[in-house]
Amino acid sequence: MADKTITVEVLRYRPEQDPAPEFQRYQVPFSDDMSVLQALLYIKDELDETLSFRWSCRMAICGSCGMMINGDPKLSCKTFLRDIHPATVRVEALNHFPIERDLVVVMDDFIDKLERIQPYIIPAEPRSLDQGAYLQTPAQLDKYEQFSSCINCLLCYAACPQYGLNPTFIGPGALALLHRYNADSRDGASAQRMELVAAEEGVFNCTAVGYCSEVCPKHVDPANAVNQNKTTAAADYFARFLKPKGSGK
C-alpha cells in the first residue's frame, strides 16, 4: 500500500511572479485514511514549500480549509483521497473570491458582511448578571441552533450562482447567521435586521438554486434561512405600502 500514489493538481498563483493562475502537478503517496489536506501538507513538507493554503483544526470545525476539489466547494480536511483515487485530485481556490495567492482567497467581503448583519444579541428584555440566565426551552433553542452552527467556511458562497453574478448580495452564510439571531428568543432586533434582509443586497437576490445547502459541511441549510426570510421580508415589504408610515427609518 505504501507505494501507491495519487496525482494532485493544484492551481498555483503567486501574484509577484505569475502572470496568471496555472496548474501544477504533484505525486503524493496515497493511503486510505488520508484527507486532501494531508496531501497538501505532504506537498508543503516534502515537495514544494512555496505552496500556500489555509488550515488549522483538521477536523471540520475551524472553517479555514475550504477550496474547490474536483469542481465542488469542499473542506479539504474532510474530503478523503479514497473517494477520489485512482482519479486525479484537482484543487483550486474557492470560486467567486479573488485569489490572494495559491489556494488562499481574499475574504474581506464576507467579514464585512458578517459585521453588517449585527451578529450579536440585542436583547428584547435586558437582564443583569445577577438576574441569571434567560430561560430558553429546547424547542426555542431548536429554532436557531442549526443556523448557529455555521463555521464561516464560505463554501456556500462559492456554490451560490447569484453571489457569483452580484457580489453585493449578502449571501447564504451571513443570511443564515442573521436569521440565527432573529430566531433567538433572547433577541429583540429582528426589525432592524429585516431592513437589510429586504434591501437590494438582501434575500430577493436568491433564485432558490439550493446548491448552498447541498455543499454546507455543517448542515446549516442556509437556503432554508434565506427562504424563511423571504416570506417575512415580503410581508414586511407589502406592509410598508399598506400602512401609512411616518418619516421613519
Binding site: 477536523m59 471540520a60 472553517g63 495559491d102 488562499v104 450579536y120 441569571g132 440566565a133 429546547p138 439571531y181
Partner: protein, 593 residues
C-alpha cells in the same frame, strides 16, 4: 515602519483574547484596542474544544467542591488563592456568555443543563452539544463586533514583543497578505496566544498552536512556569490525534481493552458500575486514564491498529438518538474520518497530547513579572491547573482570566506614557531585520519540516506519558542540536504575499524554544506528580523537595536555567490523590478525622 497607536494590544483572538478585548472595551470605551490574530478570530483553536466549560450550577454543589476537585486534580501544584477566585467567578462568566447568545444546551424547563466530567465530583460542566468551544468562540467573536473601540488586525503575525524602559510597550506584526511589518505601540500588552501542543507528534491541536506568545515572553526574560506538565488526553483518534471529547464518557461511554474489559478498574479507579459515577472509572482524571492506557499496552492488552495500539471507546449502549443529540460532532467524526458508526461499533482511541498546563508566569491579576505584560488562557500559567488540568476548567479559564487580563491591562495602560516613538521604531526595525534575515539567507540547507518532525518525535520519546531520566536527557540533547541546526534553515519561498513558508519557520523557532523549556523542566523534576510521571526511581510524589513550581528561564543559545518558586497553599494541604471507591473513602475520613 508604519505604526499604530493603541492603549492595549491583545495578541491572539481566541476565547481569552476576545474576552480580554471586550473587557477593555467595557472598562473604558475611550481606550483604543488592537486585537491581533495570525488567523481570523473564528479559526482560533478554542473552536475545537468540545465537551464543556465548568461553573457551579446546582444547589447541592459548591465553590468548595469545585475548588477541591481542581486542587486535588492538579496534584496540589495549584495556586490556591487563584483557584478560589476562579471557581467563584466561573458561574457568572457562563451566565455572561448566555446573555451574549451562547446556545447552551437546556433542560426541558428552559434552564441551562450541565453534564458530568472527569475528576469533577458533581456535574457542573456547561455545554453546547459537543461543540462548546466552537459556540463560545463564535459568540465572543460576534459579540466583539459590537464594540467600535476594538480594532482587529486579522491575519497579522506577531513577530516580536517590544520591551523598552523595563516594560512591554507594544508588538511588531507582519501583515500576512502583504508581508509588511507594522509596529503596534501600546501602554499594555496582553498575550492570549494559546498552547504549544504541536511540539509533539500525535496531538489534538490545530496547526496554529505553536507557542508563539510563550516563546516571545520567554525570550524577553519572563519565566515559563511548570512547562513539564503536558496533558495527554486519553481518547483521541489514532494517527491524526483528533479529539473524542471527555463528554463521551460524561454521557456514559466505556473504555474497553482487547478483551472487552473495563480495564480502568485495575488502576484504582473502580468499582466498575454500569452507569457513570463521578470521579470514578471513565470519569477519572485525564492523567490517570492516559497512564492506565500505557500500562495496558505494556501488558499486551491493547489492540493493534495501523497507527499503533488502541483501546475501545464504547458508546453503543447510549443508543443512536442520544448520541446524535448530545454528541453529534463525535458521531460525524467517527463516521467520516474512521468509517465507524459509534451506535454500532466501538471507536478505536489512544492518548494524544492535548494541553500545556504550564505557560507564561503571571500572578492572579494576569500580570507577568515584566511590567505592562499580561497573559491569559493556555499560554499563561496563572496557577489553576497545577500538574494536571481537569476537563472543562480551561474554557472557563478563558473567560474568567481573559476578563481579568483585559481589566488589569486597561488599568495599567492608563498609568503610563509611551517612550519616545523613535526608540520604539528602532527596536521594531531590528526585529524586522531579524525576521527578514530568515528569508534573505540563501545558503541554508536544513528543511523546516524535517526539523519539526525530529522535534516532535524526540518530544514524544522523552516527554511522553511516562518518562525516564535517560530518555529525557536524550531529548534535551536533541533539542540543543536542533536549535543549532535551526540556524542553518533554508526557505524556498522568497515572496512577500502570504509566505507561509517563512511564518512556519518563525513558528518553528518559537516551538524549539518552548520544547526546550518543557524538556529541561521535566528532566529536573525528580518526582512523579500529575502529568509528569517517572519510572526511574522517582515514582512517588515528593512534597518535601518538589512541592514547588518549576521556572524555566531563557538563556540565549544555551540551555534554559531552571529555578523553583513556592506553591501558594491556603486551605488544602497535600493529601493522597485517590479516585473511585478509594477516593470516596479518603474523603469520608478527611471529613471525620
Amino acid at each position: 515602519m508604519e505604526s499604530f497607536k493603541a492603549d492595549v494590544v491583545i495578541v491572539g483572538a481566541g476565547g481569552a483574547g476576545l474576552r480580554a478585548a471586550i473587557a477593555v472595551a467595557e472598562a473604558d470605551p475611550g481606550l483604543a484596542i488592537a486585537l491581533v490574530s495570525k488567523v481570523y478570530p473564528m479559526r482560533s483553536h478554542t473552536v475545537a474544544a468540545e465537551g464543556g466549560s465548568a461553573g457551579v450550577a446546582q444547589a447541592h454543589d459548591s465553590f468548595e467542591h469545585h475548588f477541591n476537585d481542581t486542587v486535588s486534580g492538579g496534584d496540589w501544584l495549584c495556586e490556591q488563592d487563584v483557584v478560589e477566585y476562579f471557581v467563584a467567578q466561573c458561574p457568572q462568566e457562563m451566565v455572561q456568555l448566555e446573555h451574549w447568545g451562547c446556545p447552551w444546551s437546556r433542560k426541558p424547563d428552559g434552564h441551562v443543563n450541565v453534564r458530568a466530567f472527569g475528576g469533577m465530583k458533581i456535574e457542573r460542566t456547561w455545554f453546547a452539544a459537543d461543540k462548546t468551544g466552537f459556540h463560545m468562540l463564535h459568540t465572543l467573536f460576534q459579540t466583539s463586533i459590537k464594540y467600535p473601540s476594538i480594532k482587529r488586525f486579522d491575519e497579522h503575525f506577531c513577530a516580536d514583543l517590544i520591551v523598552e524602559d523595563g516594560r512591554a510597550q507594544g508588538v511588531v506584526v507582519i501583515g500576512i497578505a502583504s508581508g509588511e511589518f507594522m509596529l503596534i505601540e501600546a501602554g499594555a500588552v496582553v498575550f492570549a496566544t494559546g498552547g504549544a501542543g504541536r511540539v509533539f507528534r500525535e496531538n489534538t491541536n490545530g496547526g496554529i498552536v505553536t507557542g508563539d506568545g510563550m516563546a516571545l515572553a520567554y525570550r524577553h526574560g519572563v519565566p515559563l512556569r511548570d512547562m513539564e506538565f503536558v496533558q495527554y488526553h486519553p481518547t483521541c483518534m489514532p494517527g491524526t490525534g483528533l479529539l473524542f471529547t471527555e463528554a463521551c464518557r460524561g454521557e456514559g461511554g466505556f473504555l474497553l481493552n482487547k478483551d472487552g474489559y473495563r480495564y480502568l478498574q485495575d488502576y484504582g479507579l473502580g468499582p466498575a458500575e454500569p452507569v457513570p459515577r463521578n470521579k470514578a472509572m471513565e470519569l477519572g482524571p485525564r492523567d490517570r486514564l492516559s497512564q492506565a492506557f500505557w500500562h495496558e499496552q505494556q501488558k499486551g492488552r491493547t489492540i493493534e491498529g495501523p497507527h499503533g495500539s488502541v483501546v475501545h471507546l464504547d458508546l453503543r449502549h447510549l443508543g443512536e438518538r442520544k448520541l446524535r443529540e448530545r454528541l453529534p460532532q463525535i458521531y460525524e467524526l467517527a463516521e467520516e474520518f474512521l468509517g465507524v458508526d459509534p451506535a454500532k461499533t466501538p471507536i478505536p482511541v489512544r492518548p494524544a497530547v492535548h494541553y500545556t498546563m504550564g505557560g507564561i508566569l503571571v500572578d492572579g491579576s494576569c500580570a507577568a513579572p515584566l511590567p505592562g505584560l499580561y497573559a491569559a488562557g493556555e499560554c499563561s500559567s496563572v496557577g489553576i491547573h497545577g500538574a494536571n488540568r481537569l476537563g472543562s476548567n480551561s474554557l472557563a479559564e478563558l473567560c474568567v482570566f481573559g476578563k481579568v487580563a483585559g481589566i488589569e491591562a486597561a488599568r495599567f495602560a492608563r498609568t503610563v506614557s509611551p517612550s519616545a516613538a523613535a526608540t520604539l521604531q528602532k527596536q521594531a526595525q531590528a526585529s524586522e531585520h531579524r525576521a527578514r534575515a530568515i528569508v534573505a539567507k540563501s545558503d541554508g540547507t536544513e528543511r523546516i519540516a524535517h526539523l519539526r518532525k525530529e522535534m516532535a518525535e524526540t518530544m514524544e520519546r522523552g516527554c511522553g506519558i511516562y518518562r525516564l531520566g535517560d530518555s529525557m536527557q536524550a531529548t534535551c540533547d536533541k533539542l540543543d542540536e536542533l536549535r543549532q541546526r535551526y540556524k542553518n534553515i533554508g526557505i524556498e519561498d522568497k515572496s512577500s504575499v502570504w509566505n507561509s513558508n517563512w511564518l512556519m519557520a518563525i513558528e518553528l523557532g518559537f516551538q524549539l524554544d518552548v520544547a526546550q523549556a518543557m524538556a529541561y523542566s521535566a528532566l529536573n523534576r525528580k518526582e512523579s506528580r500529575g502529568a509528569h510521571q517517572r519510572l526511574d526511581g522517582f515514582e512517588q510524589r515528593d512534597d518535601e523537595h518538589y512541592l514547588k513550581h518549576t521556572l524555566a528561564l531563557f538563556d540565549g543559545d544555551g540551555r534554559p536555567r531552571i529555578d523553583y518558586s513556592p506553591v501558594r497553599i491556603t486551605k488544602s494541604r497535600p493529601a493522597v490523590r485517590a479516585y473511585g471507591a478509594a477516593g470516596e473513602q479518603a474523603e469520608k475520613e478527611a471529613r471525620h478525622g
